[in-house]
């Protein structure tokens, strides 16, 4: 037991001391007792010690961050934040760090500062007992913790988007903790004849969406926790509605009100969904099975021929990922990839396939099958469904879940090959 102490101390210190590691190595080399860590005296070392107690930072050598979608200024001319994407090319495992979660807003928004002591949620409308809950009361109710992805319906590959952050970065995955919306609705007592709910946020525009009651009673989550801590302000602190598998706009941030109603309520957010074709409406609500290779991916550079692990993320709005296949020859042959993380429903799942690159130009891609049995389609298949010619201008209607093709050139550069 005694012998374990120094190594544990060393681990803790070197893990947090940003500049400490180099100092430790230097002092060890200069003849100090191995295993004993001197107290850092540099300014960086002092900061590291302080931070070990406070909210920890990542290494200064890890620098990737989010970026505004399509370089659109965010904040814009009005100071409003629009779409900001997750750096998926650097993604590890299946959970997105809260600090790197994508941010999207229908109108654009300012992040409100909401005091959780003041925040309340009202459940009313076609219920027997309208109720107002405080945050403390919500936390006393039975909680569930579930891993779910969120995805903006604008998350799609275009000819101008080359990196996987640009083509697919408007999806992220978190572990959410909260109370099931069905628990709250049962407490209030939903009346017969009700068929939809309207969920409303507390930000300045009070963004609201209509959600089918069948979905609200199925698996929607009123979340106060995200990745082991309170939901982040950019993600809806202190309370966010999670509508698993539905597109991002349904995931109402700063949730303050749930109204039970008897029809589609046509909010400003809903108004954007209106389509003349019922088939298109069906494709704008729930996200289809989808996957993308995150390494090697557009904008990255291969180090040369040899062994690589092809890896990426797969998810579906309809359920769990059942399998992922990868092709390295432009879609002629498919190999089953290994699933490296648990396959939760409506959650990112990490897949990987061992591969040796021969240094020649090739096209790699992945496709996902969910546990409903739906298979991720190619752009060609979707164009055929709509009886439209497959040209670079062909736009997938609704949420785009088509296969992403990356072209690796013989010089090792990787490009978006969906449109050329």
């Amino acid at each position: 037991m005694e012998s374990k102490k120094p190594s544990r101390r060393k681990f803790l210190a070197s893990g947090a001391a940003v500049a400490g590691a180099a100092a430790v190595a230097a002092r060890s080399a200069s003849g100090q007792t191995p295993g004993l860590v001197p107290v850092p005296t540099s300014e960086a070392g002092k900061k590291a010690i302080k931070e070990m107690v406070a909210y920890g930072d990542r290494s200064k050598f890890v620098t990737y961050v989010r970026e505004p979608a399509d370089g659109r200024p965010s904040p814009d001319a009005f100071g409003l934040t629009f779409h900001v994407v997750t750096p998926l090319g650097e993604s590890v495992g299946s959970i997105t760090p809260s600090s790197l979660h994508y941010v999207a807003a229908h109108r654009g928004f300012y992040v409100p500062e909401i005091d959780p002591k003041e925040h309340k949620l009202m459940v009313h409308g076609m219920v027997d007992r309208p109720l107002i809950f405080t945050m403390d009361e919500l936390k006393r109710l039975p909680s569930v913790t579930r891993v779910h992805f969120l995805e903006c319906i604008g998350n799609r590959s275009t000819a101008r988007r080359n990196t996987v952050a640009q083509t697919h970065g408007m999806t992220s995955c978190s572990e959410w903790t909260g109370v099931l919306l069905s628990t709250l609705l049962k407490e209030a007592g939903v009346q017969s004849g009700a068929s939809w709910i309207v969920s409303e946020g507390g930000e300045e525009v009070k963004g609201a969406s209509s959600v089918p009651l069948s979905k609200a009673m199925d698996d929607c989550l009123v979340a106060w926790g995200q990745n082991g801590e309170p939901v982040r302000p950019q993600q809806g602190f202190p309370l966010r509605l999670i509508v698993p598998g539905f597109e991002g706009i349904y995931q109402t941030k700063y949730l303050r009100r749930v109204k039970v109603v008897d029809r589609y309520y046509m909010t400003y957010n809903d108004y954007g969904h209106l389509q003349k074709d019922p088939r298109t409406i069906a494709l704008t609500e729930q996200i289809g099975p989808k996957s993308v290779i995150t390494r090697p991916a557009g904008g990255q550079q291969m180090a040369g021929p040899g062994y690589y692990e092809i890896t990426g993320l797969a998810w579906s709005g309809g359920g769990a990922v059942r399998r992922v296949e990868v092709s390295t020859d432009g879609g002629k042959m498919w190999k089953e990839a290994e699933l490296r993380t648990p396959t939760y429903r409506m959650a990112h799942t990490r897949f990987a396939l061992p591969w040796t690159w021969d240094g020649k130009q090739c096209e790699i891609m992945s496709r996902c099958t969910d546990d409903v049995g739906t298979v991720q389609p190619s752009r060609a298949q979707v164009a055929k469904f709509w009886n439209e010619p497959l040209t670079p201008n062909f736009q997938v209607k609704g949420a785009d879940n088509t296969i992403q093709v990356w072209r690796i050139m013989s010089d090792g550069s990787v490009h978006n090959a969906n449109f050329s």
Partner: protein
């Protein structure tokens, strides 16, 4: 004291009360007062049941469009500003389409609710809850009726002296009222669309 769910379930079974009656289980939360319900419920459905008393015309709305600062962002004639176009220039197409090809989210030309929304109620709802930027929720009911009337008049949906109120607003026949289909029913564990690849 909190009653344990198990105890409650046992009690319910003993007394023959069905759980499907949705009796409260946890007895947390409080009943909102009528004033709270009224103040919080800003949703206006297509039937307009929640519309408050008040009225307004396009003429009043034209003045408010300037006095409330709408012109600063949306442009003097409801177009050409930094914020979305609100009034379709004469002769321009009103067909639904993408205003910004990089943001194809199935959205009709942003802002053009007067010509693409099937119900006028969503215009009143959004102006009332979401405008003006930075002073959201500050408009009175009369002002929201007037601004809605102004935008509908400028887009040739109503006449200049039509009075909008809780009765007349939901009855407005919108140009695209018949052009939309109902939302399909959502079912757990089913594909988005049958036969879609």
């Amino acid at each position: 004291m909190r009653t344990s769910p198990k105890l409650l379930l046992a009690a319910l079974m003993i007394f023959g009360v069905s759980l499907s009656a949705q009796s409260p289980t946890y007895h947390l939360g409080r009943t909102p007062t009528p004033d709270e319900l009224k103040a919080w419920d800003i949703s206006i459905g297509p039937a307009g049941k929640e519309l408050p008393p008040g009225h307004g015309t396009a003429k009043d709305g034209a003045e408010l469009f300037i006095n409330k600062g709408c012109v600063a962002c949306h442009g003097r004639n409801g177009e050409g500003g930094k914020a979305p176009t609100l009034i379709v220039p004469k002769g321009a197409s009103t067909a639904p389409g993408k205003a910004n090809p990089e943001m194809d989210m199935g959205i009709q030309a942003p802002g053009l609710m007067a010509v693409s929304s099937p119900f006028a109620t969503v215009m009143w709802d959004y102006i009332h809850r979401g405008m003006p930027l930075g002073r959201e929720g500050s408009l009175t009911a009369d002002e929201a009726y007037s601004l809605t009337a102004f935008l509908l008049y400028k887009n040739d949906v109503i006449k200049e002296d039509d009075v909008l109120d809780a009765q007349s607003l939901p009855k407005i026949k919108m140009p695209n009222a018949a052009a939309y289909t109902e939302h399909p029913e959502w079912k757990h564990g089913t594909p988005r669309l049958a036969n879609y690849p």
